[in-house]
């Protein structure tokens, strides 16, 4: 693994004076929070935000599109798109302009393996084989290399998006450290000389301080993760970036029932974030993204297989929501990717990059060279 010194040296001189000078950064962005939610399994964007106005939809999905949620049909969203009924809980947020979607997006990765696709999404290069860690960690390295609490990894496992040379805080809704003061001291001596263990212990001690002694019954569900995320981000001296993941999106069969729980979980997570962040919500941007979408046509088991283009969800008090952005490619065979998947017309990373630029004052060169290597920034998609 690359040491922090080597890593910073590799970034180049220009990025040391990245974006705004420290003073301006403190004044403008100190309140701004970012939450990234990784939706694992390949979320079916065509079902979450269905192109009901596209004449091809029912041809491709005669059963799924007619009754996406057992008995219920899509909810009205725009003239062209419908919203999956299981996302109903966020309808008010959409109405208030605090939640929107960008359709037909993907990373440059095209091979449809979950594990590689997630790596490509989280390492920010679009290429799964990259030893540079996660893009969110690179962002932290640029913005706050000496703080170990600027970013928080929420949940039982370390997300690749936050792995890298810069230390981040981490905790899970069901973690707690039950040891005395002097016991802590002995633990520190026990771990001295083993950086991996030392790092983990220090992180546990810090998180324990912030979180106290809560014990959640269902640590993997959206609401618990969102609640803990809010606790990390809300305080004036708290973290400013957090990430967690939600699974269950890999719906190869019986999609009309299989997609419900993950959608409810996501809708609840977004609602809990808003409720628990309170005043901080108006400074917050949430991005929920997936490694790839699913096949345009339904398969033989009332499900869908791995695809390409999908939907990115953006939310927060700081966003221009209430819309479905993106350039719709169409669903006729000649418009599909490999005659099979929704064709992506934008790069997921580009959307994240512009949010980082607007909210954290990162320069174009830092974004296109260090955080998302090789990315062409293009024009502002105006999510915020």
């Amino acid at each position: 693994m690359v040491s922090r010194r080597q890593f910073l040296a590799g970034l180049g001189a220009a990025s040391v004076a990245v974006g705004l000078p420290a003073g301006a950064l403190a004044a403008r962005s100190r309140d701004n929070r970012l939450v990234v939610i990784i939706l694992r399994g390949g979320m079916d964007g065509l079902d979450m935000v269905a192109p009901v106005g596209d004449s091809q939809l029912l041809t491709l999905r005669p059963r799924l599109a007619r009754t996406p949620n057992e008995a219920a049909g899509y909810l009205p969203l725009t003239d062209f798109f419908g919203l999956h009924p299981a996302m109903e809980r966020v309808a008010p947020m959409i109405k208030q302009g605090e939640l929107g979607f960008v359709h037909a997006v993907a990373t440059p990765y095209r091979s449809r393996s979950h594990f590689d696709g997630q790596d490509a999404l989280e390492n920010g290069t679009g290429n799964p084989v990259s030893s540079r860690g996660g893009w969110l960690n690179r962002m932290v390295t640029v913005l706050a290399p000496d703080s170990e609490t600027f970013a928080a990894n929420v949940g039982r496992t370390t997300l690749p998006i936050l792995s890298g040379p810069t230390r981040v805080a981490g905790w899970s809704p069901d973690s707690h450290l039950a040891i005395s003061e002097s016991g802590t001291d002995r633990l520190r001596r026990l771990y001295a000389g083993d950086p991996l263990f030392e790092k983990a212990l220090e992180g546990a001690l810090k998180a324990q301080q912030i979180m106290g002694d809560e014990n959640e019954r269902n640590p993997a569900n959206g609401a618990s993760l969102a609640r803990m995320t809010a606790r990390f981000l809300k305080p004036a001296d708290g973290a400013r970036i957090a990430a967690f993941s939600l699974g269950g999106w890999d719906t190869h069969g019986q999609q009309t029932t299989a997609l419900r729980r993950p959608m409810w979980g996501l809708a609840e997570a977004l609602t809990v974030l808003r409720d628990e962040l309170g005043d901080a919500w108006r400074h917050t941007v949430v991005l929920a993204m997936t490694e790839f979408g699913r096949t345009a046509a339904e398969n033989g088991t009332l499900g869908t297989d791995h695809g390409t283009g999908s939907v990115l969800i953006y939310a927060g008090g700081a966003v221009n929501g209430g819309r479905v952005l993106g350039r719709w490619p169409g669903l006729t065979p000649d418009r599909l990717y490999k005659e099979r998947d929704l064709m992506p017309t934008d790069d997921t990373r580009r959307l994240a990059a512009w949010v980082l630029k607007a909210r954290f004052g990162l320069s174009e060169s830092a974004l296109s060279r260090d955080i998302f290597p090789g990315l062409a920034l293009g024009a502002d998609p105006k999510l915020v």
């Binding site: 449809r112 393996s113 039982r156 973690s175 450290l177 002995r186 001596r189 026990l190 263990f197």
Partner: protein, 468 residues
């Protein structure tokens, strides 16, 4: 001076257990593989055919009910039965590892089971994950990769887990009467990506689809002896082209699938993939190139003969030099911790269930509940036994397990175990557990502990104990 005896036990087994002697060195490890019982007595009752039949019977019973309430009641008993089997099986499996002197054999079983992951995260597979390991993995540990692959692909657990049971050939006989069914690519993709060639092994999306067409006859039947049955009316007829070769041509037959499995097992990408995984699992997160190369070569030269592979692994210089480069997964950690304190099966018995209460509370009717220090602890440590979140199984890398959440989990468990299994002399416990890996630093910390319990917990929480 580091003693090979300790490396053999810790790196290639599940660590020391008081009163139990284990192989002394590489030669000893290989000899012990031959001596190990392939199917320990405790696991002989795990049979998939019975479970498949039971599941089928429950479903019939449920379908025969006339009211929603009655159907739900049967459902609670069905789900309870599935999960009860899951808990009972996994408890037995854990205890085998805790008590067996044949650590290397058991580690290999765990390795191959993870490679060919079947997960109870899919409800219908929950009662089959235990029998799967007994029927498809254990008998082939000392056999050929190709035979393990075939046993795995034919096993009801795998066919159910990866949706093969709902896949039929688009041009099969059955397709005419069941237009609602069609081709499912899940199993085909995972065999290529996770079991044989690996994600960069040189296959394309077309290969995945073609392989899926090949597999269409594979299904599960409650009336079949093993649960597996090749169903001709579901099989896709015609030629299939996989990786530049042609299979089949007339009506679909199992023979053509077996030919494809032969070729996949013999493919150079498979040799490379398996060599990498084995080296990464046992030796280091970034294994030495020459070890990988040696494993790859012997895999190809000996037609996937597994004992030859193990011999190269165990005889390689680096396997004995790089101690500590691997971190124990929660399963390794819990098993080796329970071994270190000499835990016996009786002391870790699952709690009996309360069927009446379950029915009252509208919950699944469980025969038993997992023991918090054994199977139950693995859920807290985020490696619920045989319930990996995806078919790629559990990661091997240190960073996946040692982080604030992971450390606090292990420490909490260590304290609980120290209380339940008190040790009269923590320093002696330290020496017996770590052997020649005992050092001054850890000795000083243990001697300064507030209580015997804390001392024992610190041994179990130490980097020395958590690495192998």
């Amino acid at each position: 001076m580091i003693d090979k005896y300790d490396i053999a036990a810790i790196r290639f087994g599940y660590g020391h257990r008081p009163g139990q002697s284990t192989p002394r060195d590489g030669r000893g490890l290989l000899d012990d593989l031959e001596a190990a019982p392939q199917i320990p007595k405790a696991l002989t009752g795990l049979r998939s055919a019975e479970r498949v039949a039971r599941f089928h019977a429950f479903n019939q019973e449920r379908a025969a009910q006339t009211s929603v309430a009655e159907r739900r009641k049967v459902g609670q008993r069905l789900h309870g039965d599935l999960y009860s089997h899951y808990h009972e099986d996994t408890h037995k499996r854990l205890m085998v590892a805790v008590t067996s002197p044949h650590g290397f054999f058991e580690r290999l079983v765990a390795f191959w089971s993870n490679h060919f992951t079947v997960s109870a995260s899919r409800l219908q597979a929950a009662a089959l994950v235990g029998p799967f390991e007994v029927e498809a993995i254990r008998p082939h540990i000392l056999g050929r990769f190709r035979d393990m692959l075939s046993a795995v692909v034919r096993h009801p657990a795998m066919l159910i887990y990866l949706d093969q049971t709902s896949s039929i050939g688009p041009n099969s006989e059955l397709a005419h009467s069941r237009p609602d069914l069609g081709l499912n690519e899940n199993l085909a993709r995972e065999i290529l990506e996770l079991h044989t060639l690996g994600v960069n092994g040189g296959y394309t999306q077309t290969d995945v689809t073609q392989f899926a067409r090949l597999l269409t006859g594979f299904s599960v039947e409650p009336v079949a002896v093993e649960g597996f049955l090749f169903q001709h009316d579901r099989a896709e007829p015609g030629e299939k082209h996989l990786l530049g070769k042609v299979y089949g041509g007339g009506i679909g037959q199992e023979k053509e699938v077996q030919q494809a499995l032969d070729d996949l097992a013999a493919h150079p990408s498979t040799a490379r993939f398996i060599a990498n995984k084995l080296a990464r699992h046992f030796v280091a997160d970034h294994p030495p190139r020459d070890l990988i190369k040696a494993l790859e070569t012997v895999f190809l030269e000996n037609g996937g003969d597994l004992p030859s592979l193990y011999r190269v692994l165990v005889e390689h210089r680096e396997s004995w030099n790089l101690f500590g480069r691997k971190v124990k997964t929660p399963f390794d950690f819990v098993v080796s911790g329970l071994r270190a304190v000499g835990a016996r099966a009786k002391q870790l018995a699952p709690q009996p269930g309360d069927p009446k209460k379950d029915m009252q509370m509208n919950r699944n009717v469980m025969r038993s509940r997992p023991n918090k220090l054994a199977v139950g602890s693995l859920t807290v440590l985020n490696q619920p036994i045989k319930k990996a979140p995806g078919p790629d199984g559990w990661p091997d890398e240190a960073e996946s397990w040692i982080h604030p959440q992971g450390i606090s989990g292990r420490l909490e468990w260590a304290l609980a175990v120290a209380r339940k299994f008190p040790q009269a002399d923590p320093v002696e416990f330290l020496r017996n557990t770590l052997g020649s890996f005992t050092n001054e630093r850890i000795m000083r910390v243990i001697e300064g502990a507030e209580s015997r319990e804390e001392a024992v917990a610190l041994v179990l929480a130490s980097p020395e104990f958590n690495r192998r």
